[in-house]
């Protein structure tokens, strides 16, 4: 049994990793011949006859097609039911690249896997829905935008992923944002929109789209204080307290106040509402905790 990789094998892990990542990022045109071979091979492994292959331009088009093919004709509802995507897609690149290393390093040999891996790579299929008699094959998107550092799907000016049939989705730091909420930020939100929005994820997306300066202009707010926590795991967390310049009769003639936190996993900034009496960002931040109520206690062994 191998217990340690050689230097050459370690170098090969990076080559294999990049081979599959680059394959996906290239957003290559689908190879029809290899796709037919791939799909037929998957059905042969499942002991099923070769299916009819239907090509579509987006996962949404695939769902609509799969619903059309599987819906009971007596069924009146036109509501889409989610139908699981199948093997033979870019979502297989993770596990296939893992075993591809062992094949390329000469550690394992498996004819069927090697054929699957080869066809998967060459076909450049984005996704599949494999039904008994038909396989729906989705082509690669035409555009994919990511955060330059984290590589999460991210775009503050438009959709992060666009398919050839114009189906698109919006993402901020890897988190999907509803189309309506994203477009509202681009067309111009008001302080009332922000205050009336109860979902922290949407407010965080607006902050990312508009930027710190614009957001503070919209809220009519200014920075009051900033502070740093040194956590037990070595992280330094910066928090900032903001307050509106105006006071609000419905808030007992007090200003509105927020603390800005940054998520250590996604890098997203969140403005979390706090009571307006705060002058100290750290105390205001601790007041939002459900479990910790003093700075000594607010020192974490885990942050993600």
């Amino acid at each position: 049994m191998i217990t340690e990789l050689t230097e050459n094998q370690k170098a090969l892990t990076l080559v294999i990793r990049d081979k599959w990542i680059n394959r996906f990022n290239s957003l290559s045109e689908l190879d029809n011949g290899k796709t037919v071979e791939l799909i037929n091979f998957i059905y042969e492994i499942a002991s099923l006859p070769h299916p009819k292959i239907i090509y579509v331009d987006s996962p949404m088009a695939a769902q609509i097609m799969a619903n059309d093919l599987t819906r009971d004709k007596k069924e009146k509802s036109s509501k889409l039911k989610f139908i699981s995507f199948g093997y033979g897609s870019c979502s297989d690149y993770g596990w296939v690249s893992f075993y591809d290393f062992f094949v390329q390093a000469g550690i394992i040999k498996h004819e069927k896997f090697e054929k699957f891996s080869h066809l998967l790579f060459e076909s450049a299929v984005y996704d599949t829905i494999t039904l008994d008699k038909a396989a729906i094959v989705v082509c690669n998107p035409s555009a994919l935008r990511r955060h330059p550092v984290t590589r999460r799907m991210h775009c503050t000016t438009g959709p992060a992923i666009v398919f050839k049939d114009k189906y698109e989705q919006y993402y901020i730091n890897g988190r999907r944002i509803p189309d309506k909420e994203f477009k509202l930020a681009l067309s111009g939100i008001t302080r009332q929109d922000f205050i009336g929005q109860s979902n922290a994820e949407i407010k965080a997306a607006w902050y990312e789209i508009l930027g710190q300066q614009k957001m503070m202009e919209i809220l009519g707010a200014k920075e009051i204080s900033t502070g740093k926590f040194l956590h037990s795991n070595g992280d330094v967390e910066t928090v900032t307290l903001y307050k509106t310049l105006d006071v609000f009769p419905e808030a007992d003639d007090k200003p509105l106040a927020w603390v800005k936190f940054m998520c250590p996993s996604t890098g997203t900034n969140y403005l979390v509402d706090v009571e307006s009496h705060h002058q100290d960002a750290k105390k205001a931040a601790i007041s939002t905790s459900p479990l910790f109520n003093d700075e000594k206690d607010y020192s974490f062994t885990h942050r993600s």
Binding site: A200, N233, A257, P290, F292, D297, R303
Partner: protein
């Protein structure tokens, strides 16, 4: 020698330092004892996202308890994890399997410990109430 020291540090750290932290909006801290009035409840996600189908869920060897809106996990001998996953990747509460991470890395809960969990909160200035952060 250095390897040995690091090994010793890793071994000692969990015993000397109480687990406390956060995974996104979910915060947790280790307790010495479970409140005597806490009642065992059916396992459920600790928090559910409104938009993305993401959830924070404890998996592994544990039981879940509740006491007046407080939530506790009593961790068994095999330990447990707080995982952040998409609901479609959920493989069951009892599994020790690491599921695909949605956004936040898993937090490990040491065997034979008691952990309290809570969700980050925000102040609603017009109703003048505290409520849990929704995402």
């Amino acid at each position: 020698m250095m390897k040995k020291i690091i090994h010793l540090l890793i071994e000692v750290k969990p015993k000397s330092m109480k687990q406390k932290g956060h995974q996104g909006d979910v915060q947790f801290k280790e307790l010495k004892t479970l409140p005597s009035t806490a009642k065992k409840i059916e396992k459920k996600p600790v928090a559910l996202g409104e938009i993305n189908g993401h959830q924070h869920v404890i998996t592994g060897d544990y039981d879940l308890y509740e006491d007046q809106n407080r939530l506790f996990a009593v961790i068994g001998k095999k330990g447990a994890m707080l995982q952040h996953i998409h609901e479609s990747n959920f493989r069951g509460y009892d599994t020790a399997e690491l599921m695909p991470v949605a956004d936040h890395a898993p937090a490990t809960f040491a065997p034979d410990t008691i952990v309290e969990l809570g969700i980050h909160r925000r102040y609603e200035p017009f109703q003048k109430v505290w409520e849990v952060v929704k995402d």
